[in-house]
């Protein structure tokens, strides 16, 4: 308890002594962690949207018109294909009824066709958009399949968007972490450098390395933690208004957006914890390195 008091007092001395540098670190860490948080949330929302679109993606496989076909056998064969997630069989009459329902008042036009032209067909769902093309290839190889209908371009775009969004999020994450880590590392290094003589004297008169290091490590941890709190404030202040704006202007996105406040608050708590951990790791590394270098006997 006594040690903690002394360590806290020394840490506040450090913060006061380098308050301009501390403030700059706080702001930089806050901005970088805000970017990290907002990018992650944007990426999660996009991921949600893509998942929804992917779940709505279907491949419609039409069989050849042949009365001798064993539909159950073909269904079993398709079900065993690698990328099939769910599958539904439509008989010609089911398909026609579905089409009539879709066409509504214009469905009478179908009467002009005379015989039902729609063969047995399968509506197949996959897990991921990128699996659609692979499934289509497998279906094309089946002699029983006459035609395949799917949104090829949409699939390719969703897959590409998904890949790009993951990469951008990863790059932003790495950049934000590196910049925050460098800023904290640098601040603590300057703090240490300005007190190098004092550190040498402290070690000479019997202070342990952990006692000397604690105020500096605590300073770095606190700066990054408060930087993360600034980021959390920024996220709460910008995310919810942004969501309201999107919901008003693009109602189609409604079901894909993360709007649950508890989820966002949990995310913010995670970000604050991440900031503090990052600050602790950086300061610990720089402090151990610095103290070891100036206390090593020749």
């Amino acid at each position: 308890m006594t040690t903690l008091k002394y360590v806290l007092r020394d840490m506040f001395r450090l913060l006061i002594h380098h308050w301009v540098l501390g403030l700059l670190t706080l702001i930089t860490a806050g901005v970088m962690l805000w970017i990290l948080g907002i990018t992650t949330l944007f990426s999660l929302n996009l991921e949600n949207l893509l998942l929804r679109l992917e779940s709505e993606l279907t491949v419609q496989a039409y069989l050849v018109r042949d009365n001798t076909l064993n539909i159950e056998e073909i269904a079993e064969k398709i079900q065993k294909l690698e990328y099939v997630y769910t599958m539904k069989i439509y008989s010609p009459s089911d398909s026609l009824a579905k089409l009539q329902e879709k066409m509504g008042s214009h469905s009478k036009a179908l009467d002009m066709l005379g015989e039902n032209p729609i063969p047995y067909n399968f509506e197949i769902h996959v897990h991921k958009a990128e699996e659609v093309e692979k499934l289509v290839e497998e279906l094309r190889a089946m002699p029983e399949v006459d035609d395949i209908v799917y949104a090829g371009m949409v699939v390719r775009r969703i897959s590409a968007l998904s890949r790009i969004s993951s990469r951008v999020a990863l790059i932003m994450f790495i950049l934000s972490v590196i910049i925050t880590a460098l800023v904290v590392y640098n601040t603590i290094h300057i703090s240490l450098y300005s007190r190098r003589e004092e550190i040498g004297i402290m070690y000479l008169v019997g202070a342990t390395k952990s006692y000397i290091a604690s105020p500096f490590v605590l300073e770095g941890t606190l700066l990054a933690f408060f930087g993360a709190l600034i980021a959390v404030g920024g996220i709460i202040g910008t995310y919810f208004p942004g969501i309201i704006l999107l919901q008003t202007n693009l109602p189609v996105l409604n079901s894909s957006l993360i709007t649950d406040k508890n989820t966002i608050f949990r995310f913010c708590a995670l970000l604050a914890g991440f900031g503090a951990t990052l600050g602790w790791v950086c300061s610990y590394l720089v402090v151990s390195r610095f103290i070891n270098s100036i206390t090593r006997p020749e």
Binding site: Y203, L204, G206
Partner: protein, 225 residues
């Protein structure tokens, strides 16, 4: 705390021999002067005792500690039993006299009340109570040296190392500092002090260890400069 140097040499890179094959034994409670010209190895010898340096050859033991084999984590605990006073005082400029002395005890997690009591005791011992709130740059050389002595005394060490403690001081101030060192020694603390001051050595007739170019050339009880 007794000190034993056995075949100790210290070579600085690339090949500067600061000490060569030193064998000395200092018993608990002795007062020893280390003399010699500038560059003779006096400071190196003292810095080996405080373990700021490690010997290139030979072994050094101080009390129960073998300084060469000592674990890094034990160094602070060893140093708490060694009071150190240097010619350049080694005081922390941003702290007051009181704080400079208190922080040595704080590093050992001594409770605040005990820190206050002990700090008051040692500051009084060196006669600086009235100046306890002053910072080192507001003190004279003698007062800074007395602050350094008070700091070294704070942990009640068994060994006192003084590297030319009177080097920057006038005759009267140096005499005051020596009085304090003798009183510390009278309490049973081993004192090893390097000096260039012939008057002090000749007037007190303690054990004298003389170095020349890193070699021990004299080890004499009750010696002169």
């Amino acid at each position: 705390m007794n000190i034993n140097f056995s075949g100790v040499s210290k070579i600085f890179e690339p090949d500067i021999a600061a000490l060569i094959d030193i064998n000395i034994n200092i018993e608990q409670g002795e007062f020893v002067y280390v003399i010699g010209q500038t560059g003779s190895g006096k400071s190196t010898l003292l810095r080996l005792i405080t373990r700021e340096l490690l010997p290139s050859r030979g072994s050094i033991s101080v009390g129960d500690f073998n300084l060469r084999k000592m674990r890094k984590s034990d160094v602070p605990y060893y140093r708490r039993d060694v009071g150190l006073v240097a010619q350049d005082f080694k005081l922390i400029p941003s702290l007051t006299v009181y704080e400079n002395i208190a922080f040595v005890m704080e590093t050992m997690s001594v409770p605040k009340k005990l820190v206050e009591e002990r700090a008051k005791e040692v500051i009084n011992q060196v006669g600086l109570w009235r100046k306890r709130f002053m910072k080192p740059n507001q003190l004279s050389g003698g007062e800074q040296q007395r602050t350094a002595i008070a700091r070294a005394l704070a942990n009640s060490p068994s060994l006192f190392i003084a590297d030319e403690p009177t080097g920057n001081l006038d005759f009267h101030t140096a005499a005051d500092v020596m009085k304090i060192l003798f009183s510390i020694n009278a309490a049973g603390v081993t004192v090893v002090m390097s000096t260039h001051n012939q008057n002090i050595v000749n007037s007190t007739r303690k054990r004298v260890i003389e170095l020349d170019n890193g070699k021990l050339i004299r080890d004499e009880m009750g010696g002169l400069y």
